[in-house]
Amino acid sequence: MSTPSRSNIPPAVSPASTAVETIPVALPPHGHALPPFPVNARRMLGNTQLRRNLGKATTTIRAKRAAVVSELPDWEELREAGRAIKEHTLAHLDEYLLQLERSVQRAGGQVHWARDAAEANEIVTGLVKGTGATRVVKVKSLTTDEIELNGALQAAGIEAVETDLAELIIQLAQEKSSHILVPAIHKNRAEIRELFERTIAQGQQLSDVPSELTAVARAHLRRTFLSSTVAISGANFAVAESGSIGVVESEGNGRMCLTLPQTLITVMGIEKVIPRFDDLAVFLQLLPRSSTGERMNPYTSIWTGVTPGDGPQAFHLVLLDNGRTHVLADATGRQALQCIRCSACLNICPVYERTGGHAYASVYPGPIGAILTPQLLGVEQASTLPFASSLCGACYEVCPVKINIPEVLLHLRGQVVRAKQHHTGVRGTLAQATPEAASMRTAAAILESPSRYEQAQRLAQIGQWPLARGKVIPSLPLGILSGWTAMRDLPALPSQTFRQWWRSRPEQRQEAPRD
C-alpha cells in the first residue's frame, strides 16, 4: 500500500529502474488470475541493479544461516519436532482454534473470525473506528499485506503507519515488498538515501551509511510511537493452551506497538496456532537461525490477553481463513500451512536469487510462495507459479519445518495440467488440445510402436538438414519449440541411430541375446 506515513510528504517518484508498479502483490480476490511468472521474471532479469543487490544479500544471509545452524547438534531433531507439531496441529485445527479462543477470552481478549480478506478488513476497520483513532501504527505483518488492510483503512479515513524500517522504505517509495523478511532487499543504500532525502529527511544531506539512514527512521517514527493509541500486528505464534501470542522482531518497533498504545489488534492466519507453550522451545530455536541467521532475534514479545497496568488494555485477535481451509483440504498441499515465514527457502533458491520477489506477483514470493499462492487462490489463477522452480530441492533441505516444497510443486503441476485437460477434454481431437498436450499425445503414439519410432527417427534425420549446424541445432522454428533453443542448443540427430548401428555390427547376427 502506498499511504505516505505523514500527510505533508509529497508522493515519492519511484525510481524507473525498479518498474514494479504494475505487478499486484496482495492476493487478488478469488477468481482473478495473477500475471504469468515468466513474463514478470523476464522483466526483472533485465534489472541488473536488482540482481546485484539480491545476489549480495542472499549470499550473505545464506552463510550466516549455515554458521548458526551448524552450532546446534540437535538441529535435525528440532526440524522434525517443528514439522510434527505443525502437522499435528493442522490435523486438529478446529479443536486448537476453539481452545485458543477460550484461552484468549479468559485472559481478557476478544476473538473475531474472518472468512476472507474483506471480512477481516471490515472487522479491523470497525474496531479502529470504535476507538476514534484516525491513525494506527503497524508491526510488519504479511497477513495484513495479504488482505491489503492498509488500503481498507485508508478508504475509511484511517492512516496506517508502517514502523518496520523496510516496510517504511517500501511505503515511502510506494512500492511492494520483494522478500518476506527484508521487504526492501531489492534496494541498495544509495537508493534508500535518495528516497529519505525526498521524503522523511527533506532538506537534509544524508550519507549512505546504514546506521545514519537508520537513525533518520528512528527520529521520524519516535513521536508517532509515543502518541499512537491503536496498534495492529500479525502473530508468529498463538498458544492454544494459554492464549499467549508471540511476535518475533529485531528493531523494537514491535515492542513499541505492542506496549504503548491502548488498543492492540492482532490479525493472524488460522494456521499460526500451536498447541502448547512448551512448543515455543522448538520454534524459538528454528525461526531466528533460519531467518536472520542469528542465535536469537533481538526481541521476542509474548503477551497473554490483557495485563492490568502493563500495555494495551483492549486486545482483539482476528482469526483469518482467506483460502487457508482450501489448502487444508489437500492432503499433499496442506504442508504449505506449516510455514513459519522464515524466508530460508527464498534465500537459498536459485530462481528467487535471480528474479527477486516481485516476479512472483504475490505477497508470498519464492519457493514457499510458489506452493502457497496457487493453493490460496486456486491453481488456475496462478498456473505458472508451480513451474517457477528448477526442482533442485535446496528449499526442502533448509526448511525448518521440513515442508517438501518440490513434492508440492510437482503435485500442483499435475493439477495445472489436469485443469487444462479438463478445459480441452482429454479425449477431444488433437486440434482441441493445448500444444503441450498435443505434442505429448503425438509422442505417445510414436513411442508405442518400434516401427513408428524408427520411421520418425528417419524422418527427423532427413527433416533436420535445414536447421542443423554441424552437431547442433542452434535454433528451432515455431513458437513453442523456439523457446527450448532460446538459451541452449539442441543436439542434432547423428547420421546413424543406435538401432541402425546395433543391427549393422557383424557379431550381431551370430550372438544370441544374453538374457
Binding site: 543487490n53 544471509i61 540437535d74 531433531e77 528440532l78 522434525e80 519436532a81 502437522e87 490435523a91 486438529h92 485445527l93 478446529d94 479443536e95 482454534l97 474472518a114 472468512r115 471480512e119 518496520d164 524500517l165 522504505i169 527484508v182 526492501a184 541498495n188 543504500r189 534508500i192 546504514p210 546506521s211 539512514l213 537508520t214 528512528r218 517514527l221 493452551e241 494459554s242 529485531s250 528493531e251 523494537g252 518497533n253 513499541m256 506496549t259 504503548l260 502448547r276 512448551d278 522451545a281 522448538v282 530455536q285 536469537m296 533481538p298 526481541y299 521476542t300 509474548i302 497473554t304 495485563t307 497496568g309 502493563d310 500495555g311 481463513d321 481451509t325 482450501h326 487444508l328 483440504a329
Partner: protein
Amino acid sequence: MTDHQDAARDEILRRIRVALHAEQAGITEQHAGATFPAQSFRRSDQQPASVHIANFIERVSEYRATVQEVNQSGLPHALAAACQHLRLHRVVVPSDLPSAWLMDLPAINVEVIADGGLLTTAELDACDGVITGCALGIAQTGTIVLDSGLAQGRRALSLVPDVHFCVINEGQIVSLVPEAVAALAPIAQEARRPITFISGPSATSDIELNRVEGVHGPRNLVVFVVRPDEQDVITEYFYDE
C-alpha cells in the same frame, strides 16, 4: 459476538472439518485423541554452570551489548560507574528494585525515579536510562528474559529509555532455550504476565542486510552479571565504543 460473527466462526470451523474429513482416515487416526508426537531434541545439557556463564557472557557481547561481571558487593559501584561513563542524568527504576543497588548514584548526581506504573510515556521518554533485574538468562543464545516479575516493572520501562542496564545473578542463567521456556510457562499460563526476550540492543538488517544496532528499542544494553563475593571476577570491561 454478533450473529454475523457467529456465522463466520461456524463457517470456518465447518470448512476445517470438511477439509480434514475429506481425506481418508489415515492421518486423523494416527493422531486420534490428540496424542502429541514424540520429540527428541535437547532439553538440557550436561555442561557445568561455569561453562554456561562463560557462554552467556560471550554471546551477549557478540550482539554488541556491553557485559560486565561484578561481585555482589561491587554492583552499586559498577552501576554508578556505568551511569557516569554513559553520562546519564536521570534513570528510571521499577519501584521494587533493591534500593541497595542504587546507593552510589546520589553521590554522582544521577536522579533516580521510581515507577510504580503511573509515569506517562513522555515522562519515561525524558529518562535517559533504566535499571532492571530480569527473570532469567539463556546461555545458548545470549538472551535475557523479562517477565514483569520482581525488580523488572512493566514493559514500557525497559523499552522507552535509550540505555537499559539489566542486572542478572549468575544463578539465573540457564543453558538452553527449552529450559527457559519450561520456566516461563507458568508465567504465561497462570500469572498471564507479558514476557520479553531480549538479545542485544535493538537492531535492523533491512539495509543491504547490514546489521545496525539501535533502532527503536534501547540503543545501548548493558548486562551486569553478578557473582558471589567470594568468587574472583575474571573480567570487568566495557565493550562499547
